[in-house]
Amino acid sequence: MTALLRRLIAKPWLWAYGAAAVVFLITVLFTGGRSSGEVASAALTFATFYVIVGLGQMFVVTLGPGNVDLSIPATITLAGAVATKVMDTQDAMILPGLAVALACGAAVGAFNYGLILILRIPPIIATLSSSFLVQSTAIAYGRGLRIKPPPRLADFATAQFHGVPILALCVIALAGAMSVVLHRTVYGAWVTAIGQNIRAARLAGVDVGVTRLATYVLCAALAGLCGFLLSGFSGGSSLSMGEEYLLTSIALVVIGGSSVAGGASNVPGLWGAALFLFLVVTMLNTYGFGAGLRYLATGFIIIGVIVAASRRDRTA
């Protein structure tokens, strides 16, 4: 029993859940237990969108230092706008809309990797330049676009089962599948191997090019999925819908206990971190703090977590 407990405590992702639970309790304490159900289900709902992009960013970060996708917000906005237009409020077009959103993402991802490969530039610069292009395309395409999502999609994105958002359940399943992909498949092993030592991985016969391409495509496709679902959830696409997801997606990976230097990632931490980040904002809101303090707290949390994580790495 103690051995099991010790093994559990050694998990880097446990802290995110612990912190989320503490923040939840403090929030509920203020309201005296009322509306604790609503707080929890709101947290689950918003964390869902965070986790979708966090999953992609985590795979990219796992590839090693310098690997980060800055084009996520632009991709979300573009995919959301294109999907909304394709669906044009018709229920029958939901699946084609989803396919188009995913294809948008995949195209951006392939373009990102193309830049990295052909121009031999660091991924951060490649995804930065392509995000400028994608963002502009999204703005020009989506300006004045006021199309509601198909009713079925809107229902699905906001549906709850005994207070638990259906979407959250789906994304928990998605996260589970991604965990299997990361830890149990050849592809996942290759991603981790590249992150730990790209030369050693290449010498060991890992197809570095294909693995990196697949990872950037995966990340952008997940951003596309997020854009598709967000447009369903918030009653249509908007030009700023992706904005907050850039910094959040990186923050999730860090707070979730994955190594920023790559090569060591975990999926469960993403959910813990997403819940934690959302609940901190809810808590400060509940106690009546303004936007300034909310930003301040988020910043200190990210810095605090990375400092704490560096100590953990040193003792380990």
Partner: protein, 339 residues
């Protein structure tokens, strides 16, 4: 002669100036009226803060770090400039509200009206940057994540200082930024001064070469007896100083502050450094190139306006220029290898 012109290294160094010249020529061709004192002044005004922010970003990139908070920080400086620096604590909206509700007297004591409060707030900003450098070095932290956190902190502070856009830049700042020197437009003179100062600081002083060496081979610098801690603190403090100048010049131009005023500067400054020929790792930088890169990015927006392409494509044009220049550089590199 032809051999020298085809020298890849020379080509590489000339690339930023070359791209700026092409863009400028295209603008003059489309809209000849811009080729005037007034036209250049208008087009390049905003290049000053962007150039300063780019130099700030370049300082951390020299030591292989990255500052994702520079946009938030420039916004913070702008907010401080529009409030504390012009009217002391009494210019803060929060204090104004107290005054109106009668909690504070009509006449504020000296301590609440002195612009020294602004000076202190700006000095604190630079101090925080120096501390970040120390923290990142001592704990061996990834700068991307630390500065990501800081971007929230600066935004939070700005929102607390100035909850909604407003305030007023100090008179001297507005006068300086509105300066109309004879012969050459102010932005061009300013860009020259910034480029020369940064070039001298990073490329001509002896400590500057230590700083760049620290990006190329930190271990060698350390073995040679230089403190890497001091190097990092210096570089981050320099980022703080140049970022502060960027914020002050920005608020001098816009005359009022806004927490979100400069959020785009983070990505723009990184793009400017790269566009100017800087490398992401290894301490290879070019201060003059960085200033030129910042001007190129600023002009990209004007160019589209003159072609009457919607401003929606402004960011896209900046991205396209970045990709084109990087592609040209990749070609030159390939030629260099082929020799």
């Amino acid at each position: 002669m032809i051999g020298a012109a085809l020298n890849p290294r020379l080509l590489r160094n000339l690339l930023p100036a070359f791209s700026l010249a092409i863009l400028l020529a295209a603008i003059f061709w489309v809209q000849p009226r811009t080729m005037s004192y007034f036209g250049l002044n208008l087009m390049l005004n905003l290049a000053i803060p962007i150039a300063l922010a780019t130099i700030a970003q370049m300082a951390v990139i020299t030591v292989n770090d990255l500052d994702l908070s520079i946009g938030g920080y420039v916004g913070y400086v702008a907010c401080v400039g529009a409030t504390l620096l012009s009217g002391g604590a009494g210019a803060l909206p929060a204090v104004r509200a107290l005054q109106e509700s009668g909690a504070l007297g009509r006449e504020l004591p000296w301590i609440l009206t002195t612009p020294l409060a602004g000076v202190v707030a700006l000095a604190l900003g630079v101090g925080v940057y120096a501390l970040l450098g120390a923290l990142i070095h001592l704990r061996n932290l990834p700068s991307i994540v630390v500065t990501l956190g800081m971007s929230f902190v600066w935004l939070g502070l700005s929102v607390m200082i100035l909850p909604s856009p407003g305030g007023q830049a100090p008179g001297w700042d507005r006068t300086l930024m509105g300066f109309k020197p004879p012969y050459a437009p102010f932005p061009i003179i300013a860009a020259g001064v910034i480029a020369a100062a940064a070039h001298f600081l990073f490329m001509r002083t002896s400590y500057g070469s230590i700083l760049r060496g620290a990006g190329g081979n930190p271990r060698a610098i350390e073995r040679a007896g230089w403190s890497m801690l001091r190097v990092k603190v210096t570089m981050f403090a320099l980022t703080g100083v140049f970022g502060m100048l960027a914020g002050l010049s920005l608020v001098g131009l816009t005359t009022s502050g806004d927490a979100n005023i400069a959020l785009r500067y983070t990505l723009l400054s990184i793009a400017g450094v790269i566009l100017g020929g800087g490398e992401f790792v290894g301490g290879r930088i070019s201060p003059v190139g960085a200033v030129i890169g910042a001007m190129t990015l600023t002009l990209a927006g004007s160019f589209l306006t003159f072609l009457s392409i919607p401003s929606d494509w402004q960011i896209g044009a900046q991205g396209a220029i970045l990709i084109l220049v990087l592609a040209a550089r990749a070609l030159i590199d390939r030629a260099e290898k082929a020799r």
